[in-house]
């Protein structure tokens, strides 16, 4: 099955580009769109391919079938995407990202809360970490614009949210039936549930369908109801931007004085290398590939890597360690109808004392087991990527149905929580020079560990989950291991923002301290990560970067 389009014959550089954007995920797409529509000559270099939108149903089938890995859906893995993990907790990088036109939003869940004011003021309020050099109020208009561009459905029923200026572009998704099962217990405990802002259509928006509920948001939305950044890549192209796919940037080059970037050197599928020159460069390749590219671009003048005079490029990597729990109750729950959740509580987000930190709780709609998967395994409840379980079960027909009925109990409920993890210097993206990618470059190494602040916050999250399930008289079936948590796949930090060039990589305009025409649009610039999903903040910062570049023209 061919999932990609390869009609691009010309991958030579553009002449006289005003702006070169590296990466076409949500940050790169919005920067390119925002500038192209204001008549900037924009070229976007994307490492991955352009996926064929007409293949989404086949990709969904691939995702639901048991034969491969979920990574295969967007062709992640192999030598191109090699990495190592050296921290206290294993970091499975390639399930957290997609390389392709549209980037990681091709497989994201689509939840789009704003950060709270406290996330920008962690040092002032609690003496923890550092403050952002910008405030919530300064980012607020960009949040509103990002919600408009992406199409966010949300409600005004959240009493804990930061101040807003307008309603969401679309009404919120109403609570699910299984949310209603949690509601009485939460009421009893004084916990307020509310709707969830998400970039998924509750009605036709921007020419895209309303959600119909295939239930496969991660890893692929066949209906187009979930926002993905290829939407704004197309809009950028309509305004004259040029996108070169399968063009991984290998190095950035700078002028003799070390003041400006002069070119992005990229590879093409025919084995050639090209140099894209531009007046300005915007790195929008995420919190792993951006520091990696800067470190790979070391020169005589910048032996520790480009834009790294501070020495903090790659440091303060953050992600949220997920705390999840699954239980069974004594009634059917109508699980599995949709692939996203419709109720959260942010009641435990803002807090007076420094510890425990912020927590965002979600009430899940998904059953972790799907019938089709077990049926195709011959009634064998295996797990993906379990190499010891390569043989399928041998039952079908009525035998398999009996097994399915035992293993697909429609009485399950689950919750998960995102706890705050503070920036820690030892959590870092570095170069592992013992391994190379398909172009001979050292691979990224991810070092991720939890720390006492996040661990205490995780324990508090688990305590609250237990209280809710006790109130429901639910029988707990499984709990995530707090010492070996899965990540939220919210990669942040690594080129943090600040006013001091000795301790940060970019200034409040997202321009690097060291190079006057190099900007970064990414969660890599986050100073702290909070406990929210980062994508709306990434989008808001991308729109802010575009404004700074436009104003500086």
């Amino acid at each position: 099955m061919s999932k990609t389009i390869d009609t691009q014959q010309d991958r030579t550089p553009s002449d006289d580009a005003d702006v070169c954007v590296v990466g076409s995920g949500v940050a790169g797409a919005l920067v390119a769109y925002s500038l192209a529509k204001r008549d900037h000559d924009v070229v976007v270099l994307e490492a991955g391919p352009r996926f064929d939108p007409s293949s989404r149903l086949e990709q969904m089938e691939e995702a639901l079938r048991p034969e491969g890995s979920i990574r295969d859906v967007w062709e992640m893995g192999g030598q191109r995407d090699r990495y190592t993990s050296s921290g206290g907790v294993y970091y499975g990088l390639n399930t957290t990202r997609v390389k392709g036109v549209g980037g990681t939003t091709l497989h994201w869940l689509g939840i789009t809360p704003r950060l709270h004011q406290k996330d920008f003021e962690m040092n002032t309020r609690y003496g923890l970490a550092s403050d952002w050099p910008i405030s919530y109020e300064q980012l607020r208009p960009y949040y509103a614009l990002a919600e408009q561009e992406m199409g966010v459905a949300g409600g005004t029923d959240n009493p804990f949210g930061p101040p807003r200026e307008t309603d969401y572009p679309m009404p919120a998704f109403p609570p699910s039936y299984s949310d209603s099962l949690f509601a009485d217990a939460c009421d009893e405990l004084g916990i307020t549930m509310h709707s969830v802002p998400q970039a998924r259509n509750t009605e036709t928006y921007d020419g895209r369908s309303a959600c119909v509920g295939y239930g496969t948001c991660i890893p692929v939305c066949p209906s187009g109801a979930k926002y993905s950044a290829d939407v704004h890549v197309s809009k950028a192209e309509e305004h004259g931007a040029r996108v070169i796919d399968r063009a991984p940037v290998q190095r950035l080059e700078h002028d003799d004085r070390g003041v400006s970037v002069t070119a992005a050197m990229y590879a093409t599928p025919d084995g050639a290398h090209q140099r894209q020159t531009a007046d300005r460069f915007v790195l929008a390749a995420g919190a792993v590939e951006i520091p990696r590219l800067l470190l790979l671009s070391a020169s005589d003048q910048y032996p520790d890597g480009l834009a790294n005079t501070s020495g903090v490029v790659g440091k303060y990597f953050m992600d949220q360690p997920i705390v999840s729990i699954t239980a069974e109750i004594d009634e059917p729950t109508n699980q599995n109808p949709i692939g996203y959740h419709t109720s959260e509580t942010h009641q435990f987000y803002d807090h007076d004392e420094p510890r425990p930190g912020s927590i965002k709780f979600a009430f899940n709609n998904e059953n972790p087991i799907t019938a089709a998967d077990i049926a195709m395994r011959g009634g064998d409840e295996g797990t993906r990527e379990d190499l010891t379980d390569v043989l399928a079960g041998d039952s079908w027909g009525d035998d398999a149905l009996a097994t399915l009925r035992e293993r697909v109990p429609n009485r399950r409920i689950s919750m998960f929580a995102n706890p705050e993890l503070l920036p820690r210097e030892e959590n870092a993206v570095t170069l592992d020079r013992s391994k190379t990618d398909d172009h001979g470059n050292p691979v990224p190494d991810i070092s991720w560990s939890i720390g006492s602040h996040a661990m205490e916050t995780m324990e508090y999250a688990r305590e609250i989950q237990n209280r809710i399930l006790d109130e429901l008289d639910a029988t707990v079936l499984s709990k995530s291991d707090l010492s070996e948590p899965k990540t939220a796949a919210h990669k942040m930090g690594t080129t943090r923002m600040g006013t001091d060039p000795d301790t940060s990589v970019v200034d409040p305009t997202l321009r690097t301290h060291d190079l006057d025409n190099l900007f970064i649009a990414s969660s890599s610039t986050f100073v702290t990560g909070g406990a929210m999903n980062p994508t709306l903040t990434i989008a808001a910062l991308a729109l802010k970067v575009a404004d700074h570049i436009h104003e500086g023209r």
Binding site: L64, P66, P332, N336, T370, A375, D394, N410
Partner: protein
């Protein structure tokens, strides 16, 4: 609303419909489905015709090719096309080929391809449709575009019935 994304939603991708999914192939697939589907499923041939008929042409050709391999084996061992054998013999043919025990692979050997393109294709079609998932008390399974309409609703009586059956 759901209908426009339903079983026939691949049809827009196909330029022609008089393709590999002939009546004979549909009959052969239905003969397999009678073995691998639960006995409670009715209207199998009609379901298979609708489902397989809506698949992309490239997939139909692969399915037809795998069905040919199955028929070749049935003819060699039982002297008849697969669909012309009694249900019990059909089950035996699939198991004799090790289709029940093999992995599923689109590029594998003959049993692996039959598992991928025939058995698992049919099971995918059934259990990502309400017809199959209702056997388990699930109104809208993952992979079916009806979740938005159903996610706020209380589970139906069908769900309770299925659960009751589980308890027995």
């Amino acid at each position: 609303m759901a209908g426009q994304f339903g079983l026939s939603s691949f049809e827009g991708l196909n330029e022609r419909h008089d393709d590999a999914m002939t009546d004979t192939v549909v009959r052969d697939l239905a003969a397999v489905a009678e073995v691998v589907y639960p006995s409670a499923v009715s209207g199998i041939e009609e379901f298979v015709r609708t489902y397989a008929g809506g698949l992309p042409d490239t997939r139909k050709q692969k399915i037809a090719s795998a069905v040919t391999e199955l028929n070749d084996y049935a003819c060699r061992t039982h002297g008849n096309r697969f669909a012309d054998l009694p249900v019990g013999d059909r089950d035996s043919v699939l198991r004799a080929m090790a289709v029940d025990r093999t992995g599923s692979s689109p590029d594998g050997n003959i049993p692996e391809r039959i598992r991928y393109y025939v058995v698992n294709q049919l099971l995918y079609g059934l259990y990502t449709s309400p017809m199959g998932s209702r056997l388990l008390g699930i109104e809208n399974p993952v992979g079916h575009p009806g979740g938005f309409e159903s996610y706020q609703k209380e589970p139906s009586q069908a769900a309770f019935t299925a659960e009751d059956q589980t308890d027995e």
